[in-house]
């Protein structure tokens, strides 16, 4: 008869699996186990191999353990209950976390906005001004930079007049930041277009020094070039050399002393 390597029985493996949750349960099982194995051990996961081997030895000599149906059923039910409990506990934990984060975000957002009083005033004022300024809804966004820039800038006089009717405090100017970003990016795109069409690829441009040296080339007596030195050549090399020289001087001074 082939000696089949006995499989690890269910009891010790289940005890290992539930070692962190159901400590008393495992102990109970261990106690039961211990009756069979003659090993009163708690924390079965600490020495699983030895136990298996010993269990194997025990199992080779003795008959398999006898468990009543009721106890097995009870065990199974207990397991299920425990599993369900952990799952629900996890779910509630996640829910709580999410709730807390949402509250935090709402608070931060509230902190960013102005107090309700000013917002109310502005919304009522903008409704009355809607006819005067078609297609431009203003949101208030206090920015110190804009205020400083617009204070003395006559070109923004139009916007100042619109805000003055709203608030008594005339020291700031409300500008919609999104519009500002859009305007800047459009201006940059326009300047990039001009630069590209005049100086970009496909244009026949040359440097000023080459341009001025053209007249020089046909003179009977050649003069020096307008930009005789190229100061931008080898900048990194020159900087390294300077640093090295400084360090060398310091070392020389030290050794001299």
């Amino acid at each position: 008869m082939v000696q089949l390597r006995p499989r690890a029985s269910r009891a010790p493996s289940s005890a290992e699996a539930m070692v962190d949750e159901g400590q008393p349960a495992s102990e109970e099982e261990e106690a039961e186990h211990g009756l069979l194995l003659g090993q009163p051990s708690s924390g079965a996961a600490a020495e699983p191999l030895e136990e298996d081997e010993e269990g194997d030895d025990e199992f080779d000599d003795e008959a398999p353990e006898e468990l009543t149906f009721a106890s097995a059923q009870a065990e199974a039910r207990e397991e299920e209950r425990r599993v369900r409990e952990t799952v629900t506990a996890d779910k509630t934990l996640l829910k709580e976390k999410r709730k807390r984060r949402e509250e935090l975000f709402i608070e931060q957002k509230k902190r960013k906005l102005l107090p309700d009083t000013i917002l109310e005033k502005l919304t009522t004022a903008s409704q009355t001004n809607v006819k005067k300024s078609p297609g431009k809804v203003k949101e208030v966004n206090l920015q110190k930079k804009n205020e400083d820039r617009e204070k003395g800038n006559d070109s923004k006089k139009v916007k100042v007049q619109k805000v003055q009717s709203v608030s008594q405090n005339k020291s700031y100017l409300a500008v919609r930041l999104k519009d500002q970003d859009l305007r800047d990016s459009r201006q940059q795109a326009a300047q990039a277009f001009i630069h590209n069409s005049l100086y970009g690829p496909g244009t026949n441009r040359t440097t000023v020094s080459k341009f001025l040296s053209l007249a020089n080339k046909r003179l009977p007596v050649k003069k020096a070039a307008v930009q005789f030195l190229n100061n931008a050549w080898g900048i990194q090399k020159k900087q390294n050399a300077k640093r090295f020289k400084r360090r060398w001087m310091v070392r020389k001074m030290k050794t001299k002393k």
Binding site: G152, S197, N204, V208, F211, L212
Partner: protein, 686 residues
Amino acid sequence: MGEFKVHRVRFFNYVPSGIRCVAYNNQSNRLAVSRTDGTVEVYNLSANYFQEKFFPGHESRATEALCWAEGQRLFSAGLNGEIMEYDLQALNIKYAVDAFGGPIWSMAASPSGSQLLVGCEDGSVKLFQITPDKIQFERNFDRQKSRILSLSWHPSGTHIAAGSIDYISVFDVKSGSAVHKMIVDRQYMGVSKRKCIVWGVAFLSDGTVISVDSAGKVQFWDSATGTLVNSHLIANADVQSIAVAEQEDSFVVGTAEGTVFHFQLVPVTSNSSEKQWVRTKPFQHHTHDVRTVAHSPTALISGGTDTHLVIRPLMEKVEVKNYDAALRKITFPHRRLISCSKKRQLLLFQFAHHLELWRLGSTVATGKNGDTLPLSKNADHLLHLKTKGPENIICSCISPCGSWIAYSTVSRFFLYRLNYEHDNISLKRVSKMPPFLRSALQILFSEDSTKLFVASNQGALHIVQLSGGSFKHLHAFQPQSGTVEAMCLLAVSSDGNWLAASGTSAGVHVYNVKQLKLHCTVPAYNFPVTAMAIAPNTNNLVIAHSDQQVFEYSIPDKQYTDWSRTVQKQGFHHLWLQRDTPITHISFHPKRPMHILLHDAYMFCIIDKSLPLPNDRTLLYNPFPPTNESDVVRRRTAHAFKISKIYKPLLFMDLLDERTLVAVERPLDDIIAQLPPPIKKKKFGT
């Protein structure tokens, strides 16, 4: 005249900004010029091409179009999407209206002057109505696919030509719809990958539309049928600007190679009535792109990236063939950008966004006339002061003792106190400047550095007392009658009693500083004042005007001096009156009351009032009197105007002490070396 040691200063790295747009106004014969840094200058072409007014620039303003409207109103539009109106009386910007179309590329005023058309980045053409105090948006025309880069009205005001990328559209003004769309070839009879940008369009009254584009072509289109009539290839690079004369018999175009071409409507044969457009004259006065041209009734005006403003009178249009018909090239500024502290030998240089303070070097060597002496101590760059904010600096000044620096932008006024310990310098800002001091046109310190005089752009003149580290506002002289000019100049006498201010067209006002009231007014002269100074002991006010006249007025006597009357009776030498550039600085010798030292961009002159005046037949410029002739002849040829042209181009020249002069030069090559790249030219044999 005496022997002087001259400090030749070439470390003022002055680079003017390129010219972007030019607009000519026929009624007042004035030219508005806008530069790439946002500055707008107004030149009076009848006052010897002198720069009368200017509006300082701003970093975010990139003007792309400038135009005059009815009633001498000046409008500009730029890439920040706003249309700005300039107030020529109060010298500030009246208002700015956002066009809501993105960056604005072109603007044209209607022939009647009451409507304004604007071409935007998003392809829309917007019509604005010009009301007496503002502009009002009227309506949008049909929106096109690409940005509208050039606009032109038909002289009757019924149609509009708009140039875009690869096509030109003709709109009907009443309905606002596009009547024709003319596709422009990308290359002259060929195919090219690069898009063809229509840089300029012009609409003539017979329905011809002239377009210039980036392929180097000038094309004539018929707007009734929307077809191409004629095409000229004139350059290998872009043709960037076009301007048509009022009579519509000639127009001028400017190319990126720096050439300006003149086209004229010429009869086909000498006695036929049929005419055709012929390219008549090329002018090469620029080295870089010519981005803008204008056509006045008698002259062609061009300006571009190489910062020169060139005015070329047309010989066939000029009535009298005198020096007025010569080419005028305006390169150097018409006002002083440098101030000097004589006691400490410091120079303050004014740039657009920063100030530099330099200390002059010194030498211990001596030599003969014409020697270059080696420096024992080099010039020192003491301070680099950057201005806060995007606005340009309008004016600046350093006190004669060297302890105060003041400068002004449109919105703020800055005053700094300097402390010198051994070789170090420390700067402290005086905070809380009063609001009425901002936007100053001219700042001047008194000789003993206790008072500060500020001329604001409203015409008011403020006197501020300086003491220790603080200041106190003493008095404000209110504006007098007459139109305000931007070339407001101040001069203060060395004893601190008299202050002369030329800010209005009513003449130069002289104020008594001790009693704080108006003393007298020099009679008005029809040319603007370019430089002014008060002599140390005699308190004579010397005024130079833009037509090169120099007057001397005695302040205590309240009348012109005898010498001035003699000069006016005899008149100046004709070569003196034919000088191109205005006199920008006048100073005096402390020990020689008969000498007046003045300079313009290409010469400096010492006027000796004790010597006889030259008449038109004597040689004006005689640097070395003939030594082998007899004494009698030498005495006969010597005259009052001792001119030296050794140091040029001069930006500033002053007397530091009895034996030293300082001359700040700016060679043209140094300016050209810092300009953007030009178009490559192929020359035979290179």
